[in-house]
């Protein structure tokens, strides 16, 4: 509580402290929710890609077996060469589709890298918000000098967290399409 005798400088100090603490607490709450959702999305994507890969492999294996059975039937019955040519064409088409699917199924590797980066940035931002929180211990009793000293201290803490974050974040992903990337031999 602020007494009626409080000076303007004291009131300002209290308001600054309240503002910083409010930004810190609410900012942290929102970021914690975003972080939780991103991690959950990564879990779901990871689970989805496992199932997609397993199903894809099973389909490919079944097609292989089917092709072997057809080849065997063709050989046994000495069918006309047109059948063999037709199955060869089909085999080529299947191989092309399999190749395209393998390229497309790599999406999770990139989305996971992006989510990892976002989580790192969110954690960094939460640290910055944490640095804004005075937790009551640094509250100056009065005077602009005390307030300035407190703000300088907070500013140093924020700067330290920003530097810490800049050094540890993974590289970003610039791909815009799920097409095969460039190849360069040295």
């Amino acid at each position: 509580m602020i007494s009626h005798e409080a000076q303007p400088s004291e009131l300002m100090n209290v308001q600054v402290v309240r503002l910083l603490s409010g930004v810190s607490v609410h900012g942290d709450q929102h970021l914690a929710e975003v972080e939780r959702d991103l991690v959950q999305m990564d879990v779901l994507l990871n689970e989805a890609i496992k199932k997609l890969c397993a199903s894809f492999m099973a389909i490919h294996h079944a097609v292989d077996l089917q092709q072997a059975a057809l080849d065997s039937l063709l050989a046994d019955n000495m069918r006309t060469p047109e059948y063999a040519a037709r199955f060869k064409t089909l085999r080529g088409e299947i191989d092309r589709h399999v190749g395209a699917a393998v390229t497309g199924l790599q999406f999770q590797d990139m989305t996971s890298q992006l989510i990892g980066r976002m989580v790192q940035h969110l954690a960094g931002l939460r640290n910055v918000f944490g640095a804004l929180d005075t937790k009551g211990t640094d509250m100056p009793e009065s005077g602009n000098e005390a307030l300035l000293a407190m703000l300088n201290h907070i500013s140093d803490r924020v700067g330290a967290h920003c530097t810490e974050l800049a050094g540890g974040v993974r590289s970003t992903v610039n791909q815009r399409h799920m097409n095969s990337g460039d190849i360069e031999l040295f």
Partner: protein
């Protein structure tokens, strides 16, 4: 004799796709989850080619290449980077570290095996 490829990537799905594609092309595949694991497996068994990601927790791809090139029996083994990164600076660093080629993700199985065939048959 079957040629063996060491595939190093921290993404399980990417390793699965690599393994599937390379085995279908007739190669043996050893998987490693990061640079340290890759180095350990390369020491256990000499491989014919190394295919590595760049961004991995712990030891990254460039550090793995440098460590492999420091080993006598890996001085002439082809090493390819397979990564999301495509900047000229990082490519130059890869080349300086001893990489033989740079492949940008995602990969196409036919193009990947074509490149590998050129290098190790």
């Amino acid at each position: 004799m079957t040629k063996t490829i060491l595939a190093v990537d921290d993404s399980g799905s990417l390793r699965q796709m690599l393994s599937f594609s390379l085995k279908a092309a007739g190669y043996g595949v050893i998987e490693a989850v990061d640079g340290e694991d890759g180095l350990s497996k390369a020491k256990q068994q000499k491989v014919d080619l190394v295919l590595t990601d760049q961004n991995m927790p712990g030891m990254d791809g460039l550090s793995l290449i440098k460590a492999l090139r420091a080993m006598k029996n890996y001085q002439n083994v082809p090493i390819l980077m397979l990564t999301t990164e495509s900047g000229d600076d990082i490519k130059a660093m890869g080349k300086a570290a001893g990489a033989n080629g740079w492949l940008v993700k995602p990969f196409d199985p036919a193009r990947l095996t074509e490149v590998i065939r050129k290098l190790i048959g």
